[in-house]
């Protein structure tokens, strides 16, 4: 395959390769558990849903968790039924199990995820670094647009905050919340020809909220002796003030993601001129 291969040859090659690949995939899928035979009880998620990881740990330490042949006995782990609004002081207080996994059980992943986004934003800003040119107005925004985006911005901001504050109760969380906030900023850019974001503010938000996440993690390390461990009481499941540090982390993430994506939008919209002199 060379650079000057005719497009038709290329297409036929690609099609045949993809066909082979797809056949391979389907051949593999015939051995996968089918939709009706998926059993969450066989998976580690069962422990997350029933919030009995601590009990499982106890059973692991006493050597009862793994049966002969190293089969894990996940269904045998004792659990206590959880009732919304009643059960208190669970090992993890989030009503949204996805959130409890994202932030608590696998919080380290999320720290990495935040870092990835941070790095991507940093990379984007680094590549667009240079002297900022004046905004070239490509299309004049209409009056409705410019007024509407400004009004909508406040609502969108509020909605975003709502999403990440309620991350442990409802679907959503820091990332969607942050993305919603950034969409408001995008609206401002679209609606106002001479809009300039507050770079210092964005930077401060970004850095401080990121540091807050790590500091929360380090607090866990120094108080509970484990990085990213929950060091706050978990409260009653379903309350706004529950789930320990999950809300704190999601607030940090929300602010961080909002600031970061706004910064990305900013660097992509504003033209720059490189200077390497």
């Amino acid at each position: 395959m060379r650079n000057d291969t005719p497009i038709l040859v290329k297409k036929i090659t690609a099609l045949s390769l993809i066909t082979i690949l797809m056949v391979g995939f389907f051949w593999a899928f015939t051995e996968m558990p089918k939709g009706s035979s998926v059993n969450v009880n066989n998976r580690v998620s069962r422990l997350y849903i029933l919030k009995n990881v601590k009990a499982a740990t106890k059973s692991l330490n006493s050597g009862n968790f793994f049966a002969k042949g190293m089969k894990p006995l996940r269904s045998d782990v004792p659990y206590s039924p959880i009732t919304f609004g009643k059960s208190a002081n669970l090992e993890d207080g989030a009503a949204n199990v996805v959130t409890s996994i994202v932030v608590d059980y696998r919080g380290f992943d999320t720290l990495g995820e935040v870092t990835v986004l941070f790095l991507a934003a940093t990379g984007v800003a680094m590549l667009f670094f240079g002297k900022r040119k004046k905004n070239i107005i490509k299309a004049q925004a209409s009056l409705i647009m410019s007024v509407g985006t400004r009004i909508a911005y406040a609502v969108i901001l509020l909605f975003g905050i709502y999403i990440f504050v309620h991350g442990h109760l409802t679907p959503g969380g820091g990332f969607p919340g942050g993305a919603v906030i950034a969409s408001g900023v995008l609206g401002l850019f679209l609606g106002n020809d001479h809009y300039e974001s507050n770079h210092l503010g964005l930077k401060l938000f970004e850095s401080l909220s990121g540091m807050a996440f790590v500091i929360i993690g380090l607090t866990g390390l120094f108080s509970v002796n484990s990085f990213l461990a929950n060091f706050l009481p978990t409260g009653v499941i379903g309350d706004l003030y529950s789930a320990g540090f999950i809300a704190l982390i999601y607030i940090a993430i929300g602010m961080k993601v909002g600031a970061e994506l706004s910064a990305v939008v900013d660097s992509m919209i504003v033209d720059t001129e490189e200077e390497w002199s």
């Binding site: 000057d4 090659t13 009706s36 998620s45 199990v97 995820e113 667009f128 992509m268």
Partner: protein
């Protein structure tokens, strides 16, 4: 029959088709931005695949509410929340990669003056 097929294979077929389409675009289209779009489609396919393995017929959402019970007599009936959280992560990572790819694409257009992927190379290999 049809229902069973749908339950078992529809998401898998969907995700595989997305991956195949994305791969096809990536392999044949010479425009950098279309290649990025292709990569994005592959990513969507992967994400769909991951969500698909979390779901099974009649699964409830994995969120405790007043009406939503996640387990009955010790048997969990909720959809698997772990792949969902993985998808959340994967989406964000895909977003980051895409943003960076777009940026590099813009810079390439600025410096090479072309978006043809075949022309982004130096002489003298």
């Amino acid at each position: 029959m049809m229902q069973e097929f749908l339950q078992n294979y529809v998401y898998l077929i969907g995700s595989m088709s997305l991956i195949g389409i994305g791969l096809y675009i990536t392999l044949t289209d010479e425009n950098i931005f279309k290649i990025i779009v292709g990569l994005n489609i592959i990513e969507s396919g992967t994400n769909l695949f991951m969500v698909a393995i979390a779901w099974y017929p009649k699964a409830v959402m994995p969120i405790y509410t007043l009406t939503n019970k996640l387990s009955i007599n010790g048997k969990v009936i909720a959809a698997d929340p772990l792949p969902q959280s993985l998808v959340l992560t994967a989406i964000v990572i895909g977003l980051g990669t895409t943003a960076l790819a777009l940026t590099i694409g813009i810079k390439i257009f600025e410096k090479y003056g072309t978006l043809d992927v075949r022309k982004i190379k130096e002489a003298g290999r």
